[in-house]
Symmetry: C2
Subunit: 367 residues, 2 copies
């Protein structure tokens, strides 16, 4: 029996849903706000199309959608592969990176988004974890110290889940250089790029480097995690292998969602994203104020929509997550799900208008 | 550079689409008939749902959809994993079969549906091809002769693409026994189960065997190849590993399509499928009559919606496919795309009301 490191988000969500009391759900990365209007309009328009529009799109995605993405990202359309969410885009990057680069080791951060670690394990690669600093940032010097001839991949995520850290262009360039020096691929997952409160976010596409993959999706930015429309921008030399793996794994992505997202991309104005960003900043302020009142230590996020917090003498284990659900009515993710460096912490997703209530409940529980 | 055996359907479709003349497209398996009404209704209803319905479904599929499938197939709901089409269901079965069973060899038919061969290659397995008989059927005795301790998987597809052969329950039981005798998994792809003209089709689920996976999708039966809603019914002992691989590859499937398909399953009456089946039988009769007039040899399909045909002195190569597109105005798939046994043949998909015109064009070309 082979066993893989399985991300536990669904497990904690299920425990919270089955609790015998009111629970404020801060587990998942499921946005609680509305998608842009174009999304629903796109679905309705698609429902009325001729049935030929219900058949296979191009394996690597609807042409118009790829062109829209390529134009926005300033890349050649041939480098864009539309995937079943950023998850598949990352999977393809990691699988083909391991196939193409020398070495069989994957450098990941600690704390880590658990899907990266699970994929390394699924792909029979060795995962090596580089602890981030107190602000949740990865130091390129630490990555250089950990890298070796065995390093095939370096996977980063900024704005970061779970720490909220945002990496600027210099940091990404330094990481790409470490990767290049070791014949490794840098995979830059930028799915939270619309949620940068620091003003420092820069896409790794700006590096214009041969050994960099950028992945993204509309799951978070358009509040549709269930649509599974993501993409990767792969280097020219890698994109054919990625397309083939995508075809052999999934044949193609789901077309209703691609149509809806295309319409939404064409019609959504910048103020949609700005409004969401402001709402999340307000939530972060209110939640961290209440955490101050609860005497908790926490990381002020520079981006994304998660807050990591630590409570004295109450480490972030699965057992304690279940206690918080049952006794405080607040569901978060255990720090131990994200690695060792933040094993004492909890991650709270600010995907509920009741974030302040949640912090008040925590303050009462820990009083 | 790693290179995989890449299915060439999209390549031929592109050549046909770019031809400088009217071409009757018989390349793809894209149905040209309408989906059931419930499908469009389901999409419209979904577009009006609360935005919480736009977030991650359970990784292995919407609960109501899994229950609907399990009830129809008479299996425990825990064995059902909803996938991104039958393609992903097959990929998961092959990947986990290779991980769990002894050996690293995959037994496939010749001719073969090219995705199976491509996946064997992607998964670093050795593919061994067992030629089918003149009627396109696989003889279990031939499979037994080819099987060894190295055999990890036997992959069958019935009703068959490309030959149209339908395997009855006895044949499937014999194949499952060969698999069991060699600690191998039998993967039975039944995506054409609604298109059985022989009355002999039986699902491998009827075998109730521990080493059998059944895969399926609504892509063909509901004429929505682009929706990517399929499923696998996996043995109890394998389903956890399959779920984890699915989660790490795709996170989850696309929810708009799952909602639409659920509604369609709930509301579509048997006469929808019967009407389609009768239409296809009429097309097959007309097309094969015209092939008779053209002096071609062909296999009368027992199921699915493909006809394989051979023209004297004109083998089924990519070059000859392109000649037929340019000079006859008929696009089919080359036999060589499906293996060696039918390398001289062409495959024509009866997904156009102009199938008879196509046969007339072929008769004229070969006159």
């Amino acid at each position: 029996m082979v066993s893989y490191r399985k991300p536990q988000f669904f497990r904690v969500m299920k425990y919270a849903a089955e609790a015998d009391r009111d629970v404020i759900d801060m587990v998942s990365g499921n946005p609680d706000w509305d998608p842009p209007d174009g999304l629903r309009e796109g679905l309705r328009a698609y429902a009325d199309e001729d049935s030929s529009a219900f058949q296979y799109p191009a394996s690597h995605g609807l042409r118009a959608l790829r062109e829209e993405i390529a134009a926005r990202r300033g890349v050649d359309v041939g480098r864009v592969v539309v995937t079943n969410g950023a998850g598949e885009a990352n999977h393809l990057a990691m699988a083909e990176g391991l196939a193409e680069m020398s070495g069989s080791e994957v450098l990941l951060t600690d704390p880590v988004y658990p899907y990266y670690a699970g994929r390394a394990n699924l792909l029979n690669a060795d995962a090596r974890f580089v602890p981030v600093d107190d602000q949740g940032r990865l130091d390129p010097a630490d990555v250089r110290a950990a890298a070796s001839d065995e390093t095939a991949l370096i996977v980063i995520n900024s704005p970061n889940n779970p720490t909220g850290a945002v990496y600027g262009e210099d940091r990404k360039r330094a990481l790409a250089e470490v990767a290049a020096d070791h014949d490794a691929l840098l995979v830059s997952d930028e799915v939270y790029d619309h949620f940068d409160y620091s003003g420092r976010f820069a896409s790794a596409l700006a590096l214009d480097a041969e050994n960099v993959v950028v992945t993204n999706a509309v799951s978070k930015s358009m509040a549709v995690t269930g649509f599974r429309v993501g993409y990767g921008v792969y280097p020219e030399w890698l994109v054919d292998a990625v397309r083939t793996r995508h075809m052999l794994t999934n044949v193609t992505g789901s077309r209703p969602a691609q149509h809806a997202v295309l319409r939404a991309l064409e019609t959504t104005r910048p103020d949609y994203y700005a409004t969401t960003r402001r709402m999340l900043e307000d939530r972060i302020d209110a939640f961290t104020d209440a955490l101050d009142a609860a005497g908790a230590e926490y990381t002020e996020p520079e981006g994304a929509f998660y807050v990591m917090a630590r409570f004295d003498g109450f480490p972030g284990t699965y057992g304690n997550v279940e206690r918080l659900i049952d006794e405080a009515g607040v569901a978060g993710m255990p720090g131990e799900a994200f690695g060792e460096a933040r094993g004492d912490w909890f991650r709270f997703a600010l995907v509920t208008p009741r974030a302040t209530d949640a912090a008040d409940r925590l303050a009462e529980f820990f009083a």
